[in-house]
Structures are given as C-alpha cells and as structure tokens.
C-alpha cells in the first residue's frame, strides 16, 4: 500500500469553521460529480432528459397549439414556450424527490451518513446536481422551442432565472424525498405536477378561468415564474388591469418565491438529512 492516506481519525466537529466550510464545499462537489457519472453510466437517464422536452413540444405546440390564439394576437408558440420552460424547471421537484428517496431506499444515504464527511455537503451537492440536470433539460427545451418557431429577444436572463427556480424547487423536492418513507411514496409528487402546472398561465391566459380557479392560478408560483420569463425572453403578455400582484410584478414575485423556498426548505432539508433516523 503506497498511496499516502489521510489520517484515519480526523474529526470534522473539532475543526475551525473555515476548514469545515472548505471540506463541505469539496464534499458537495464530489456528490454533484456523482450525477455526471450517472449520466455517463446510465445513458437511458440522459435520454429521458432529452425525450421529455421533445415529446412536450410535439404535444403542446402541435396538438394543443393547433387551434389556439394568444390574447392580444402574436404567435401561440411565443406564448407557450416560455411556459413550457418554466414547467421543466418546476418538474425538478419530482426529479429531486425521486433521487433522494432512492438513495435512502438503497442504503446509499446511510453510507454517506456513516462517513466522516460534511452532512450539509450531501444535500448541497444534490441540489447542484439538480442544477446541472436543469441546464440540460432547459437547453434542450429551448432548442426545441427555437426549432418550432419560438422567437425570444434574448435568452440569458430568462434561462438564468429558470435555473434559480429549478434550484430553489429542488430543495422542496429533496425535503419531500427525505421525509417520505420510500421511493414509491414519492410518486404522488409526479402527480401533483399536473395541477401545479395546469392551474397556471402556462397554456392559457388566466383571465378566462372561473373566479376561484383564477385566484389559485394567479397566486400559483408557477404563474409568476411564467409571467417573469415571458417578460425576460421578450414575449410579454399584456397584464390585465385587475391582475393579481404576482402577475403584475412577476420577476420580483419569482425571486420572492425562490427565496421563500430556500429559506424554508434549505434548513428543513439539511435538518432532515442530519437527523439520526429510527
């Protein structure tokens, strides 16, 4: 055995805070790197990340969009694609819940727990990995959109905001994955994605909805995200005079939602991950 090994009994709890932070960052990068290796080792997962945006473009642009006219004219594709990009960002909840719950089921989480590594490093690394997954999905989705005639005036600010959304929502997903008893128990998250994205302004303007439903749709965080990226991509929709506050101030509202998710589910997730279980 010639490789020099680190000391066997170093103690993370006894280190100065700055050193601990440095090691925690290193652990997070190692955990995030694992996701890239997953893509390489299981190409079928990578293929899924490509197939879903393609499928959704087909379904919504050509089936649903064949007979839709957006409010105030313009193309339905310009109305729809920013919404579908937001949808992809929000789907991160289900993805991260599944990944975290699967690790827990398989005993990988216990292995991490038994290591002298940073306990914050694992969820942070997992969330970074979700971001990487988000970049792939969003870029593919945007590419599909451009192919079917989406014409944004700029993409950087919009995609950056969507990445932040994906990141913030992944913490909610991870928390769900950690508190659920098993991987299969997280399936409901996938089901919840339907009302969460359908009761919003992704596919239709909310003005035409029944009053109660419209209230729900306007205050649905997804609607604020969609309105914000329509603005940032240069595909804005005229804001009705009686619009709810998040629709009238979508970028601020989106940043607020993200901050709220991070402030609430960041600490909850880290705590759920640290807590010794049964």
């Amino acid at each position: 055995m010639n490789t020099p090994l680190p000391p066997t009994a170093w103690t993370t709890s006894d280190e100065p805070p700055l050193a601990r932070l440095r090691w925690a960052a290193g652990d997070a990068v190692t955990v995030a790197r694992r996701y890239l290796i997953h893509l390489r080792s299981a190409p079928e997962r990578a293929a899924m990340a490509l197939v879903i945006p393609l499928l959704f473009t087909m379904l919504f642009v050509y089936v649903l969009g064949s007979n839709m006219r957006p409010p105030g004219g313009g193309s339905y594709v310009d109305f729809l694609v920013p919404g579908m990009l937001a949808q992809m960002a929000v789907f991160g909840i289900a993805a991260s819940a599944a990944v975290v719950a699967e690790d827990k089921d398989r005993g990988v989480t216990d292995r991490f727990h038994s290591l002298p590594m940073s306990r914050t490093g694992v969820p942070v690394g997992q969330s970074l990995a979700e971001c990487l997954g988000g970049v792939i999905t969003l870029v593919v989705m945007a590419g599909c959109g451009l192919l079917v005639g989406w014409r944004p005036t700029g993409v950087v600010a919009g995609l950056a905001l969507l990445l932040l959304v994906r990141y913030a929502f992944s913490w909610l997903g991870m928390w769900i994955g950690l508190v659920m008893p098993s991987r299969s128990a997280t399936d409901f998250v996938g089901m919840l994605m339907f009302p969460l994205t359908m009761i919003s302004n992704i596919f239709v303007p909310t003005e035409g909805l029944p009053a109660g439903l419209r209230l729900a749709a306007d205050w649905n965080p997804v609607s604020a995200v969609v309105a914000a990226v329509r603005e940032l991509f240069g595909n804005p929709v005229a804001v009705p005079a009686d619009a709810a506050w998040p629709i009238a101030h979508p970028v601020v509202a989106t940043l607020g939602w993200c901050l709220l998710l991070l402030v609430v589910f960041g600490p909850l997730t880290v705590a759920a991950f640290r807590a010794p279980k049964h």
Partner: protein, 330 residues
C-alpha cells in the same frame, strides 16, 4: 498503514436501550470488543442486531445507556466515531448505477483524498480485491461475490479502526467465501477490529475470536444472553458427545457398558442397532480422556469398532440449544 492503536476497548456498550414506540428493541445491551479482534454478533431476527449496529455507527440514537466506539461516545462525539469506522453490507450500500472504480474514487474523495492519490488508491483496492477486469462496469452487473468484495474495498479506502461487517459471505461459492474470509483476517492482522453480524454460524465460527448472542427472551428488548469464544460456547452450551458404531449389532450391549464406565453416565441408543452415543460435557471428564479410556477397554474386550469419534457440536447446535433454553426459561 495500520490504524492508530486504541487504548481501551474498541467497542464498549453498557446498558444500551432503544425503543420504537411501544416496542423495546434493545433492553440493556452490554458488550465489550477488544481492539484487533473479531466479535461475532449472533441472534435471531428481531433480536436487535441491526438496531445495535446502527447506534454504534451513529445512524440512530439510543434512549439510554452508553456506547463508545474507538474510544468516542456515539452520542457526544458522533463525528469522531465516523472518522474511525466503516459500515458495510445491508447497513450501507454502494452506488449501483456507477462503476466499481467510480464508487471507489467517489468514496476516496469523501474520505478527503485529492489529486492523483484518488485514482491510485482506487487502483490499489481494485487489484487487492481482484476487481480490475470489472472496474469499469456498473455495479448492478456485478456478481454477488464481486459486490461483497467492492463493498469491503469501499470500507477500506482509509483503513478504519473498527469495521462493521454484515453477512459478508452469504450466497457466495466456497472459493469466494474463503477469499473473503482471508481478506477479513488480513484486516484484523493489521489491527482493525471487526464486529461481524451474521445468521450463518460457520461464518462466525471461522472468523470470530469471541461471540455474543443477542436475544430477546422476555420480550423486553434484545440483550446479550451468552458470550464467549466459540470453543467456550460449544463446551458450555452444546455439549460434546462420543459416537460409537460397532461392526456387529450383538456387541452393542457390552460396548454400551464400557462407554458407561468410561464416561460415568448412561449412553443413549437410537434407531441404529449398531450405534450408541455418550454425552460428555465440561462437568464430566474431558471428552478426549473418556474417548481414550473407552478405546482401550473396547480393544481389551475384543469388540470390533467400525467408527469411534468425539463430536463437538456445531455452532448451529449451540445456537438452537440456547434458543430452546431461553424459550423454556420463560
């Protein structure tokens, strides 16, 4: 590189208790494992083996009592404990999606190795455990034996002071089994302490210096009901016996009398008309002395012996015997 020596016991458990709601899983466990030894932790399902290991590995908190691993209290200094242990088997899995090499490199980084040392350490372990050819394949394609070896290799990225092994050779062919046992012995020679949980008693018999039997006879939570070397447990709980088979059935009578004289108690006969069995225990004369005396007298009496053997019980028999006694005592 050997792990640092431990001053005190590698594992020290006193009065450890754990409840899950109304169910008591551990009802006051006491256990001491000396450094550089293998302790086999046996017990029926539900006796609390998993609960005990999870507490010792800081994955779970006890409700009462004290547990120290490598000198560190598991409740007060869990991070120090984690710096000294490795967890394997059903308790902690590797990543099935990625390859064996990717797993080793990931865990090497999490053990704070950096740069070229990461790859070198992974290669060393792949070679040591004969996994070079499968190094690039996803772990889900590995055979049972390869998986166990990788599992152990991951636990040894940085040699731990204490390693928790769980049924390391279940389902392996005899050759892989022997190879894995040799790896564990090598580890112990280098100074690592092993807590081995298993249902397979010959595995414990092969590897363990001492054995602790965890059971829950009164339904008040698991506790250690027997402890000792495999030899001690066999002598105390299993009882040895002398099996005699004579060539001619008509000589069984005189042969039985001779055995009774040599052993000082009455032998038993079964269905076989040529066979008699004498129980010899720790409280009587040593089995070997009785055997020698019996052999001399049988020879002098001119009895044709087909087979004469001193039989030690297997650990399985000890275990069953112990479980039966527990049941009767309640």
């Amino acid at each position: 590189m050997p792990p640092p020596p431990l001053d005190a016991a590698a594992i020290e458990v006193r009065g450890l208790r754990k409840r899950f709601g109304p169910i008591s899983a551990l009802g006051g466990v006491d256990l001491t494992v000396e450094p550089g030894t293998v302790c086999g932790l046996l017990g029926p399902n539900g006796a609390g083996k998993t609960t005990l290991v999870r507490i010792l590995a800081t994955l779970s908190l006890p409700d009462g009592g004290v547990a120290r691993v490598a000198g560190h209290d598991v409740v007060q200094h869990p991070a120090r404990v984690r710096g000294s242990i490795a967890l394997t088997g059903q308790y902690a899995s590797v990543d099935e999606v990625i390859s064996g090499r990717d797993n080793l490199e990931m865990f090497a980084r999490l053990y704070r190795m950096r740069g070229p040392a990461v790859r070198r350490r992974a290669e060393e372990l792949l070679e040591r455990f004969g996994l070079e050819d499968a190094a690039h394949r996803p772990v889900r394609t590995y055979s049972g034996g390869m998986r166990r070896r990788l599992d152990l290799a991951v636990g040894l990225v940085v040699p731990p002071g204490v390693i928790f092994l769980d049924e390391p050779t279940t389902g392996l062919d005899p050759q892989s089994r022997g190879g894995l046992w040799e790896s564990v012995r090598e580890l112990v020679r280098a100074g690592t302490t092993v807590l081995l949980t298993t249902q397979y008693l010959d595995e414990a018999d092969q590897l363990a210096d001492r054995i602790a039997v965890l059971a829950d006879p009164e339904g008040t939570g698991g506790r250690v009901v027997a402890e000792g070397t495999p030899f001690e447990l066999k002598s105390a709980l299993g009882g040895e016996s002398i099996d005699l088979t004579v060539r001619h059935a008509e000589q069984l009578g005189p042969a039985t009398e001779i055995l009774a004289r040599a052993g000082g108690r009455l032998p038993t006969t079964g269905d076989d008309p040529r066979r008699v069995t004498l129980a010899v225990g720790a409280e009587a004369e040593p089995g070997t002395a009785v055997l020698a005396a019996a052999l001399r007298e049988l020879d002098a009496a001119g009895i044709a012996v087909e087979d004469l053997a001193l039989r030690r019980p297997t650990l399985d028999e000890v275990f069953l015997n112990l479980m039966n006694r527990q049941r009767e005592a309640v």
